[in-house]
C-alpha cells in the first residue's frame, strides 16, 4: 500500500497541501512534548513504574490522533497505521497500562522520524520510500509486553482488541460500516419485534428536544494563542464557504463525501486549538453525513437544511470570533435541527439497506452470566436521572461483560471513550477511577447525555466482550420543577405503546424545543458575557491568508522592478530640474523688450525731428518686428516657467512614488518574514540525540525566537545551523568528567540566539566547551598544506580560527558519526555566503566558541554602492564598504612592490580590479576621469581583512535587486550576482569576500591588512610590478 495511490482527485490533492502544513505543526508539537517526556523519563531509574503527567500524554495523544484522523481522510494508509500505533501507546500510557521509560520515548522518537520522513516524501515523491514495518513491529511488541504484564493470559486478546481498533480507524469509513450494519440489524430486529420499537420511538421523541445540554458543559479554551486562532479562522472561513457551496449544489453523490471531509476539517482544526463548541457541532455534522454516506449517500432536504443552519451558526461563530468575542448562540438551534433531521432520516426505513446483515439484535445477545445485574430497575434509573444535567436528554445504559473477560477495565475505558465521543457521561458506576480496583467487574452502568439515536448509541456500546447492553431513555426534563415531579422514565420493558410515530414529523413530535431553546441562547450569551469580560484583555486575532510562496516571490520580484524604475524616475526628474534652471531668461527677455521699446521711441522721435528717410523707416520696421519676436519669445519663456512648475510637481510625484515604492518593498519583505523560533526549536531534538550519541550532557538555551527572517532564508539556514550546532556539541562541549575536572558544571550549554543589529540579522551559536586550540589548528593546516609553516607562524589566533572554513579542514581527530558526515565547514560558509551573509568564528581556549552569522534582512534587495571601474559599473554591498577615501598619488608608497596607502595610520593595500579579473574583451569605454594626482579608494572588508579597491568614479548608494547569475548561466569567481540598473543596463555585484581571497591568492598565502607587505615573496614581485605598472597606466589615461 503506497501512500500516493489514494490521492487521485483534485480535491484531495488540494487537501494534501493543508495536510502537510498542518502535520508539520503537529510533528513539531510531538517532538517538543516528547522532549519534555524524555526529560521526565530520563529522571526515572530503570524499572520504575510511575504514571506520568496525564496532560502531557493527552497532548501527545491528541497530536497523534489528529495526524491519524487527517491521514485517514486522505487515505495515507502508512501514515495512518503508524500514527494509530503511536496513539495506542499514548493511550495505554494514560490509562496506566504502560509505563513510559526512556526506551519507550526513543521508540516513539524513531516513529516520529519515520513519520516526518513519510510526510517529506509527500512533498517530494522522489525521496526513498519509508519502511515502517520494523517500527510498527516494535511498537506492537511494546504494547503486547505491557499488556502481558498486566494479565498474562490477555496477550492474544490485547492483540485482538488492538486489531479491532486498528480496523476501526484505518478507514474511518469502516467504522461507519459497522454502524450501519448495526442499524440494519436493528431495523430487522424491529421488523420482527414490533413492540420493541417503542422505546426507540420514545427516544427519538426525546432526542430532538434536549436543548439545554449539548453546549452547556462545553467551554472553549479561553487562552488560545492568537496566531493559532488566526489560522483557525482562516481555514474555517474557507471550509465554511466550501460547505455552503456543496450544500447548495448537492446533487452529486460525491458531495456528501466532500461535505463530510470538510466538516471533519472544521472539527479537527477547532478541536486542535481547544474550541470545543464548534468542534462538537461539526462533529455531529460529520456523524450525520457519515451515516448518510453509508446508507444511500443522498441528502434529504431536511438534512440539507439542517446542515445549512449549522453552517450558518458556525459562520456566525467565526465572525464573532474575529471580533475576539465568540458567540455560539446559534449552535443549540442548529444542533437540534440537525439532530431532528437525523432522527427522521434514521427512522425512515427506506434510508438504509436492509439485507445482508446477520441478525444479532442487542436484546437477544447470549444470556449473560448474571441476568439479575443486567436489568435496570426503576430506582436505579431514577437515581441516575438525578445526576443528569438539567433538561438533559439521554439514556441509562448498562453493559454486562462476558464472564472472565480479560482486561475488562480496558474494555470499560474504551466504552467510556466511545461514549465521550458522542455525548457526555454524567453518571458512571463503578467510577472510572475504580475500574482497576474492581474485583468482580462484570457490568458498567452509564448515564449518557447525547443526542444520537438509540441504535447508534447501541452500536457504539456493543464491543467484543460485552455480553449485553440494556438501555433506557432518560425522562425528558425541562426544568428543575419538572425534574422533581417527573416519574421515572419509560424503560425498555415498559409498553408505552401507541406512539408508533416513526414517520411522524419531528417538528410536531418535539413540542418542547422552542421554549428551552429560547431560554438557552440567553444562558449562553450570559456565559459569553462572562467570557467576553475575561477576554477583554485578549487582543483580536489577526486574520491570515495562506499564500503560495511562489506568488510572494513574484511579488518581491515586481517590487524589485518597481524599485529599479523608481530609481530611473528619480534620475529623470533630477535631470529635468537641472535643465529648467533658467531663472534669468525671463529677465533677459524683459530687458531686451525694454531696450526695443526705447529703441522704438527713439526712432519715433527721430522721424518726428528729422525728415522721414527710408532708412529710418526700415529700421523702425525692423525694430517692430524684433519687438513682436521678442514678445513671442517671452510667451515661450512664460511656458518654460510653467514647465518648471510641472517639473517641480513631477519631482514631488516622484518623491511620493519613491515613498510608496519603499513602502511596497518593505511590506512585501515583511510578508515574507517568519520568526526563527520553529527553526531553533528543531535543535532541541538534535541536541538531545547528540547527547545520547556522545554521552555528553548539554543544555540548549534558545533566545530571540521572535526574530524574523525571510522565509526562504529560514529554509536555507537549516542545514548550516545543524552542522554548526553539531560541531559545538561534538567538538566543543567536553565529556562531563573532563568538564568537572576543568572546574565547569557537568552539563555544557549551547546557546542559540538571534537578533537584529542595524540592517542585519545576527545569529549566534555559542558553546561553553573547550574552545579551539590555535596550535593544533596551525599544525593541522600546515599538515594539510593549507598554509606554509612560515605563514602559520605569523598568523594571529583569530586568523588561525578562520582556517576551519577552508575546504578539507576538519578539526576532529577522529571523524565521528555526528560531525563527520554531511557538509564540511567550507560548505557551511558557502551556504551562508549564498544568502549574502557572512559567518565568523571566535574562540577562547577553555571557555568556548562562538559562531556568528550575519545576514541581510532580505535576500532579494541589497543596499549597494555603485561605482565605475574602467568604464564598467559595479555594485559593492554597502555592508562590506568600510570607508571611501581619496588619496594623493604622492601619498601612495610601494612596500616590497605592493602598492599601499596609509589611511588614518593603517596601511591598506591598493588593489585594481583589472589585476584580479581576467576579461575576455576590453572595456567598452575607456576611463576618462583620471585626475592625475588623486585616486579614489573604496575600502572593503570582511572579518579582519581589508583592501582598498581602486575605483574611477562613484555613482552613489542604491538599493538593487539581486539577479542570480547561475539561474541562466553559472556562478563566476568574484561576482555575487547581477542587477539591473535604472537605465536598464546590467551591472555586476562584487563578491567582496571572494575578492579578498583573490587578492590574497594573487599575493600568495593569507595576508591581512598591515601584514600584507611582509608576505610578498620574490616570485610575486614580478606580478606586483606588473600591477603597479597597470595601476600607473590606468591613472595616466
Amino acid at each position: 500500500m503506497t501512500d500516493e495511490v489514494g490521492i487521485q482527485d483534485d480535491f484531495l490533492e488540494s487537501m494534501l497541501g493543508d495536510f502537510i502544513d498542518e502535520s508539520e505543526g503537529l510533528l513539531q508539537q510531538l517532538n517538543e512534548n516528547l522532549l519534555v517526556l524524555d526529560d521526565w523519563a530520563g529522571a526515572l531509574s530503570p524499572g520504575d513504574e510511575v504514571a506520568c503527567d496525564t496532560d502531557l500524554i493527552n497532548e501527545l495523544f491528541r497530536a497523534a490522533h489528529s495526524l491519524k484522523g487527517l491521514s485517514a481522510m486522505l487515505r495515507l494508509d502508512n501514515i495512518n497505521v503508524l500514527t494509530h500505533m503511536m496513539e495506542n501507546v499514548f493511550d495505554a500510557a494514560r490509562n496506566g497500562l504502560l509505563f513510559i521509560q526512556s526506551e519507550t520515548v526513543d521508540l516513539i522518537f524513531r516513529a516520529v522520524d519515520r513519520l516526518s520522513a513519510m510526510i517529506d516524501r509527500l512533498k517530494d515523491p522522489s525521496l526513498a520510500e519509508v519502511k515502517t514495518e520494523c517500527i510498527l513491529q516494535e511498537i506492537r511488541q511494546l504494547l503486547e509486553a505491557n499488556g502481558a504484564q498486566k494479565e498474562a493470559s490477555s496477550q492474544a486478546d490485547a492483540e485482538l482488541a488492538m486489531k479491532q481498533e486498528l480496523k476501526d480507524v484505518v478507514g474511518s469509513a469502516e467504522e461507519t460500516v459497522e454502524t450501519v450494519a448495526n442499524c440494519v440489524e436493528e431495523l430487522q430486529a424491529d421488523a420482527e419485534h414490533p413492540t420493541r420499537q417503542m422505546p426507540d420511538v420514545e427516544s427519538t421523541d426525546a432526542a430532538a428536544p434536549s436543548p439545554t445540554t449539548h453546549f452547556q458543559g462545553i467551554q472553549d479554551e479561553s487562552d488560545v494563542p492568537a496566531n493559532y486562532l488566526a489560522i483557525f479562522i482562516d481555514e474555517c472561513d474557507q471550509s465554511l464557504d466550501d460547505l455552503s457551496d456543496l450544500l447548495l449544489t448537492h446533487q452529486s453523490d460525491k458531495s456528501v463525501e466532500n461535505l463530510m471531509i470538510t466538516c471533519h476539517r472544521i472539527k479537527g482544526s477547532a478541536a486542535s486549538i481547544g474550541l470545543a463548541r464548534p468542534a462538537k457541532l461539526s462533529h455531529l455534522m460529520e456523524d450525520v453525513l457519515q451515516e448518510l454516506l453509508q446508507s444511500d449517500g443522498r441528502l434529504t432536504d431536511e438534512i440539507n437544511d439542517a446542515l445549512l443552519t449549522c453552517t450558518d451558526a458556525l459562520r456566525k461563530y467565526v465572525e464573532t470570533l474575529k471580533q475576539g468575542d465568540p458567540q455560539s448562540a446559534g449552535f443549540e438551534n442548529a444542533y437540534q435541527a440537525l439532530a431532528k433531521a437525523r432522527i427522521q432520516h434514521d427512522e425512515d426505513p427506506s434510508a438504509g439497506p436492509n439485507e445482508l446483515v446477520k441478525e444479532t439484535p442487542e436484546n437477544e445477545l447470549p444470556a449473560s452470566a448474571s441476568p439479575a445485574s443486567q436489568a435496570l430497575t426503576d430506582e436505579e434509573i431514577a437515581r441516575v436521572a438525578e445526576d443528569a444535567p438539567e433538561g438533559a436528554h439521554g439514556f441509562v445504559a448498562r453493559m454486562t461483560f462476558e464472564a472472565n473477560l480479560p482486561l475488562v477495565e480496558l474494555k470499560a475505558g474504551l466504552l467510556i471513550e466511545r461514549v465521550n465521543s458522542i455525548g457526555q457521561i454524567f453518571y458512571c458506576s463503578p467510577a472510572e477511577t475504580e475500574f482497576e480496583a474492581q474485583d468482580n467487574f462484570t457490568s458498567l452502568t452509564l448515564g449518557i447525555a447525547t443526542s444520537i439515536s438509540r441504535k447508534n448509541l447501541a452500536s457504539k456500546l456493543d464491543l467484543a466482550g460485552v455480553a449485553s447492553v440494556t438501555m433506557t431513555s432518560l425522562p425528558s426534563q425541562t426544568s428543575p420543577a419538572d425534574k422533581q415531579a417527573s416519574t421515572p422514565a419509560p424503560t425498555v420493558s415498559a409498553d408505552v405503546s401507541k406512539k408508533l410515530t416513526s414517520e411522524e414529523n419531528p417538528q410536531q413530535a418535539a413540542p418542547n424545543p422552542p421554549q428551552p431553546s429560547e431560554k438557552q441562547p440567553t444562558e449562553t450569551s450570559r456565559g459569553d458575557a462572562n467570557t467576553k469580560s475575561q477576554r477583554r484583555g485578549v487582543s483580536k486575532p489577526a486574520e491570515t491568508l495562506r499564500v503560495d510562496i511562489e506568488r510572494l516571490d513574484q511579488l518581491m520580484n515586481l517590487a524589485g522592478q518597481l524599485v529599479i524604475n523608481k530609481a530611473r524616475f528619480v534620475q529623470i526628474s533630477d535631470g529635468l530640474r537641472h535643465l529648467t534652471q533658467v531663472k534669468n531668461l525671463a529677465q533677459s527677455v524683459e530687458g531686451a523688450l525694454g531696450l526695443v521699446d526705447r529703441m522704438g521711441s527713439d526712432l519715433n522721435s527721430m522721424t518726428r525731428e528729422a525728415q522721414a528717410s527710408p532708412l529710418v523707416d526700415n529700421i523702425s520696421n525692423l525694430s517692430r518686428q524684433l519687438r513682436d519676436d521678442l514678445e513671442s519669445v517671452q510667451k515661450e519663456v512664460g511656458k518654460l516657467s510653467e514647465v518648471r512648475g510641472l517639473v517641480g510637481d513631477l519631482s514631488e510625484a516622484v518623491h511620493q512614488l519613491d515613498r510608496a515604492a519603499d513602502g511596497i518593498q518593505k511590506s512585501v519583505m515583511d510578508t515574507r518574514m517568519v520568526p526563527i523560533g520553529p527553526l531553533f526549536g528543531r535543535f532541541k531534538r538534535v541536541v538531545r540525540d547528540l547527547t545520547r550519541e556522545t554521552e555528553k550532557e548539554v543544555t540548549l538555551q534558545i533566545t530571540g525566537e521572535k526574530t524574523e527572517l525571510d522565509k526562504r532564508m529560514i529554509d536555507e539556514l537549516g542545514d548550516p545551523l545543524i552542522h554548526m550546532v553539531r560541531n559545538s556539541v561534538d567538538h566543543g562541549v567536553e565529556l562531563p568528567e573532563d568538564r568537572v575536572a576543568a572546574g565547569k558544571p557537568r552539563s555544557g550549554v549551547v546557546k542559540l540566539d538571534a537578533f537584529h543589529r542595524g540592517n542585519q540579522i545576527v545569529i549566534q551559536i555559542t558553546d561553553d566547551g573547550k574552545g579551539l586550540d590555535p596550535a593544533k589548528l596551525r599544525n593541522k593546516a600546515i599538515a594539510r598544506g593549507l598554509v606554509t609553516e612560515a605563514d602559520a607562524e605569523r598568523m594571529t589566533p583569530q586568523q588561525v580560527f578562520q582556517l576551519i572554513w577552508e575546504p578539507g579542514f576538519s578539526t576532529a581527530e577522529k571523524v565521528t558519526e555526528v560531525s563527520g558526515r554531511g557538509m564540511g565547514m567550507d560548505i557551511v560558509r558557502s551556504k551562508i555566503e549564498e544568502l549574502n551573509g557572512t559567518v565568523e568564528l571566535d574562540s577562547t581556549p577553555g571557555e568556548g566558541t562562538v559562531f556568528t552569522i550575519r545576514l541581510p534582512l532580505t535576500m532579494a534587495i541589497l543596499p549597494t554602492l555603485l561605482c565605475r571601474i574602467n568604464g564598467d559599473v559595479f555594485a559593492i554591498p554597502v555592508e562590506s564598504v568600510l570607508e571611501i577615501v581619496r588619496v594623493r598619488n604622492s601619498e601612495l608608497s610601494t612596500v616590497r612592490n605592493q602598492r599601499t596607502a596609509t589611511v588614518r595610520g593603517r596601511v591598506v593595500s591598493v588593489v585594481a580590479l583589472a589585476d584580479m579579473f581576467t576579461w575576455n574583451r576590453p572595456p567598452q569605454e575607456t576611463n576618462a576621469e583620471s585626475e592625475a594626482n588623486e585616486i579614489t579608494l573604496v575600502i572593503i572588508g570582511v572579518d579582519d581583512k581589508e583592501i582598498g579597491l581602486l575605483v574611477h568614479g562613484l555613482i552613489g548608494e542604491e538599493d538593487i535587486v539581486i539577479k542570480s547569475m547561475s539561474e541562466n548561466y553559472r556562478n563566476v569567481d568574484g561576482i555575487a550576482g547581477a542587477s539591473i540598473l535604472g537605465d536598464g543596463r546590467v551591472s555586476l555585484i562584487l563578491d567582496v569576500s571572494s575578492i579578498l581571497d583573490m587578492s590574497c591568492r594573487m599575493r600568495g598565502g593569507p595576508s591581512q591588512g598591515d601584514e600584507v607587505a611582509k608576505v610578498a615573496s620574490n616570485e610575486e614581485c614580478a606580478g606586483a610590478d606588473d600591477s603597479a605598472l597597470k595601476l600607473n597606466a590606468t591613472l595616466s589615461i
Partner: protein, 171 residues
Amino acid sequence: MPATMTQTPAQEQWQGEAKGTMQLVSFQLAQEEYGIEITKVQEIILMGEITRVPQTPPYIKGLINLRSTVIPIFDLRLRFGLAEQPRTDETRIMVINVAGKTIGIIVDAVSEVLRISQEQIAPPPPTVAGLGEEFLVGLAKLENRLLILLDIDGILVEKELEEVEELAANA
C-alpha cells in the same frame, strides 16, 4: 546541467521528434546555414549593450537584461572557433531555452522558419569535420542546400565544464 550529456540521446531525440514534420529556425553563421528546432527558440532580438563578465571564456559576450531577466550571451562564432565578426544590421541574438536555462546566442543573420520532414534528415557523416562538428546532430537536405542541425544543449554544456575545471586548476 547534466555532465553526462552525450550526442546519442540528442540524436535519438531529433529522430524521435522528426516523425512527420518538424519546424526549424534557420540562421546564418559564416556562410553556413544552421537549424534549431523552433520549440527551443523563445524570441529573436536585436543586439544591444552587453555587460562583460570576467573569468569567462571568450565566447561569453556577457549579460543582457531581457525584460528584467538577466541572461548570458554566447557568441556562436567564437564558440565554434571562428573569427569574430563586427556587428552588422543583420546580426541578431536568438534567445533560446536550453536545459532549463535561457541564453542568447549571437548569429550573423536569422533566415527563415521552415518545415522539414523526417526523410530529409540524414545522420551526420562520420567523416565530417568542420564548424561546430561536435554540436552537429544531423543534416537536413533542402532543395539546393544543406542545413546543419545543431544540438544546442551541447553548446551550453560540454566545453564549458572543461573550462570551469581549467579555471579552477589555474587558480
